[in-house]
């Protein structure tokens, strides 16, 4: 025997095949086959542990089967095929003719209704009687008959109910009954009724009650056509796994025209199994591309992040992908944060940039951690600046020593700085190489706490200009300090520039004139309540009311 023949014999039955003399003999001299046998035995051991369980709810399974068998006739004995066909045809013909006979003389098989029958509850109503009553001109009698048909499980009653669904007079009442009794034979008729504007919603509900793969497949068809798309979507949502499986199969053979409604359904049912299909639509340019990108976000599954990151590189799709990632919520940001820490540098930088654009404060920790890596430090600093969380200021300050990240870190500090960061900025302003930038940032905080630091900087030739700009940014709260600075020779010029920038008037270098203007302004309600123009709006020198 060859090794392959031995392996086949061992695979067919790893235990008993070893009992054969030829196999035993071969194994004794062949290490490769012994290894193959060990492999098969290991597989069998693990397969034994992986043996799937039976149905989750055994009792419900048996009950459902009992009900189905109750609906069916006794088990068939061995009878000639033609006889079985003839018998089935006869049952159907009786039911159909009885129903469609419409009371004409031609239908002799339908016995006439008994005269003035007693209450239905008093005696057993025959199927033939039901055939007559269901066509009664009395709506109450029709309704009662339909109810009785619904309670019966024989083949004729089921056929009657299906026939009633096709009668405009009875359909409205028959539809919910077909749903209540979960009549699978009614699915084709209900599918037709589901297109009816008036009865469609009721038919959709009945299909949902019947449940199962067939009903789910019909409901999925109504997602893409007909007047009850919303109702079908809600019904499918209530059907659980069956609907998800049907949807997964449906999308695999979707026609282009059906893409949009199926995308809606995928989102409504949160069918994450359909993610590959949605991603394939999102990656193809076409009418549904935007919808598919939005669906990737709405599904909230982190596995879509890779696709969205790729698509974000295309300028035309960038905004959509950001919206989708934002819609994805925490899952998307978490996956991006994971990508910040692993993978190729290009991919990490892309993830960092996207986190910055998402402005998700929960990502700050991941981005601060990325500051430790010189290869992505500048990008992480910029992203932190986009997010603008003051808590990241100390980490950004620590990057100022890295020349390659310094400008990005300074810019980011400018974006995250607020009153709480003033002490940190004040410390940084002692560094001559940073002073000018930090003073500007102090001014941009608009925080009164920055005032003494900026006023002090007015006295230095190097920093006076930027300090004046910063004070101008602080606005009215800086005015008393600036008026005092007019008295000092080395700060007067810049103080005046700042006062002009804030007030839009130029009263020269005279501190007294500025004092009077300021006093007047504060004492005049109309003026004091009006905000000053602020920096950048100086109109012309001498404009004002001080004279």
């Amino acid at each position: 025997m060859t090794c392959e023949e031995i392996e086949i014999a061992l695979a067919a039955d790893p235990r008993s095949s070893q009992e054969g003399a030829a196999v035993r003999e071969h194994l004794a001299g062949c290490e490769a086959c012994r290894e193959a046998l060990r492999g098969f035995e290991r597989i069998d051991a693990v397969l034994g542990q992986a043996r799937p369980a039976g149905p989750r709810d055994r009792a419900a399974f048996l009950r459902a089967l009992d009900e189905r068998i109750d609906h069916a006739a006794s088990p068939r004995r061995v009878v000639p095929f033609l006889f079985r066909v003839a018998a089935a045809a006869a049952v159907f013909a009786v039911a159909w003719l009885a129903y469609r006979g419409l009371g004409t003389d031609a239908v002799a098989v339908v016995p006439p209704a008994p005269p003035a029958p007693p209450k239905a509850a008093d005696r057993v109503v025959t199927t033939s009687e039901l055939c007559v009553r269901v066509r009664s001109s009395d709506a109450a009698e029709r309704s009662a008959a339909l109810g009785e048909i619904g309670r019966r499980s024989d083949a004729v009653s089921r056929s009657l109910l299906v026939a009633a669904l096709q009668d405009p007079r009875l359909a409205a009442e028959a539809v919910p009954i077909a749903g209540q009794v979960r009549l699978r034979e009614a699915i084709p008729a209900l599918s037709r009724i589901a297109r009816d504007p008036a009865l469609g919603a009721s038919a959709v509900a009945a299909l949902a009650s019947i449940g199962g793969r067939e009903a789910a497949a019909v409901l999925l068809r109504h997602l893409t056509e007909g007047p009850h798309v919303g109702a079908a979507r809600e019904a499918l949502r209530g059907m659980g796994d069956v609907a998800l499986v049907a949807l997964r199969e449906r999308v695999q053979r979707a026609r282009p025209v059906e893409t949009a409604p199926l995308l809606d359904a995928v989102v409504a049912l949160r069918a994450v199994d359909c993610l590959p299909w949605v991603a394939s639509i999102a990656e193809r340019s076409g009418a549904s591309q935007a919808d598919a990108i939005a669906a990737l976000g709405a599904l909230g599954d982190a596995r879509a992040v890779g696709t969205l990151v790729r698509l974000s590189k295309e300028r035309a799709l960038h905004g959509m992908t950001i919206d989708a990632l934002r819609a994805m919520g925490e899952a998307g940001a978490r996956e991006l944060a994971r990508r910040v820490a692993t993978g190729r540098r290009d991919d990490r930088v892309r993830a960092i940039q996207l986190l910055g654009e998402l402005r998700d404060e929960a990502s700050v920790r991941a981005l601060v951690a990325a500051l430790a890596d010189p290869s992505v430090r500048a990008d992480a600093a910029r992203a932190l600046g986009e997010i603008g969380d003051p808590a990241s200021a100390p980490a950004l300050a620590a990057c100022l020593d890295d020349p390659s990240a310094r400008s990005a870190a300074i810019e980011a500090l400018g974006r995250v700085a607020d009153a709480s960061t003033v002490p940190l900025l004040a410390r940084l302003s002692r560094d001559p190489s940073l002073r000018r930038d930090i003073l500007r940032i102090l001014g941009e905080t608009g925080a009164p706490e920055a005032l003494p630091h900026l006023v002090r900087a007015l006295g230095s030739r190097d920093t006076a200009a930027v300090a004046a700009e910063g004070l101008a940014l602080l606005g009215e709260s800086a005015i008393p300090s600036l008026i005092r600075a007019l008295s000092a020779g080395n700060t007067a010029g810049r103080a005046r520039e700042a006062l002009v920038a804030i007030s839009s008037v130029d009263l020269g270098d005279d501190p007294g004139a500025w004092q009077r203007w300021w006093r007047d302004r504060r004492s005049t309600p109309n003026l004091s309540s009006r905000p000053l123009a602020g920096p950048g709006s100086v109109t012309s020198s001498g404009v004002g009311t001080s004279t």
Partner: protein, 184 residues
């Protein structure tokens, strides 16, 4: 448990209780096969229901040449083929989480790791071609002989042997590392 042959005979005479006992005795086998073929619990439930229902309707024609087990498994196979053959569906889309949930083993010490390996095995089995998957499932989970499997699948015993060989070889390739770890 009552003799299966006796239960079959009484079911042929229309005895519902006997048929219920037959269903109860074979439900796990049928469901497991349906689960392996269809790839999810919902379809497996439908497929098993339909198989037992058809068995009830056709039990009058059951001649007893085969065992009831191989007969009902053959019904499951036929139903699966006629229902899903045109739909080109593959159950391998079931994810690891679903496979983990499928096992429903009780949690306990070291069970988490075993569960994970079991789930990987299920995924690997699900990824096999249909005939290999069915043959392996019947051999490994139900202990059927090659001849019995051949009867269920409607194949020759030689074909079943080759299918079992290919299935086990494929699993060995896919799970080589995991299996070595688990048996250390």
């Amino acid at each position: 448990m009552e003799d299966i042959h006796e239960l079959v005979e009484r079911s042929r005479r229309g005895d519902r209780d006997s048929f219920r006992s037959l269903v109860d005795a074979h439900l796990d086998v049928v469901f497991r096969l349906a689960r392996r073929l269809s790839g999810n619990d919902a379809d497996a439930d439908d497929l098993s229901q339909e198989a037992f229902f058809r068995a009830w309707k056709a039990i009058g024609t059951f001649r007893g040449d085969a065992t009831f087990k191989t007969w009902i498994c053959r019904i499951v196979m036929n139903l699966h083929c006629t229902r899903y053959a045109t739909e080109a569906r593959r159950p391998s889309e079931v994810g690891l989480d679903a496979a983990l949930a499928e096992g429903r083993e009780p949690s306990g010490h070291a069970v988490a790791i075993a569960q994970e390996l079991s789930a990987r095995v299920r995924l690997a089995v699900d990824a096999l071609p249909e005939k290999q998957r069915a043959a392996l499932s019947l051999a490994a989970y139900e202990g059927m002989s090659v001849d019995e499997i051949a009867e269920v699948l409607g194949s020759r015993p030689e074909t079943v042997k080759v299918n079992l060989w290919l299935a086990r070889k494929r699993l060995r390739e896919v799970l080589e590392g995991d299996l070595r770890e688990s048996t250390k």
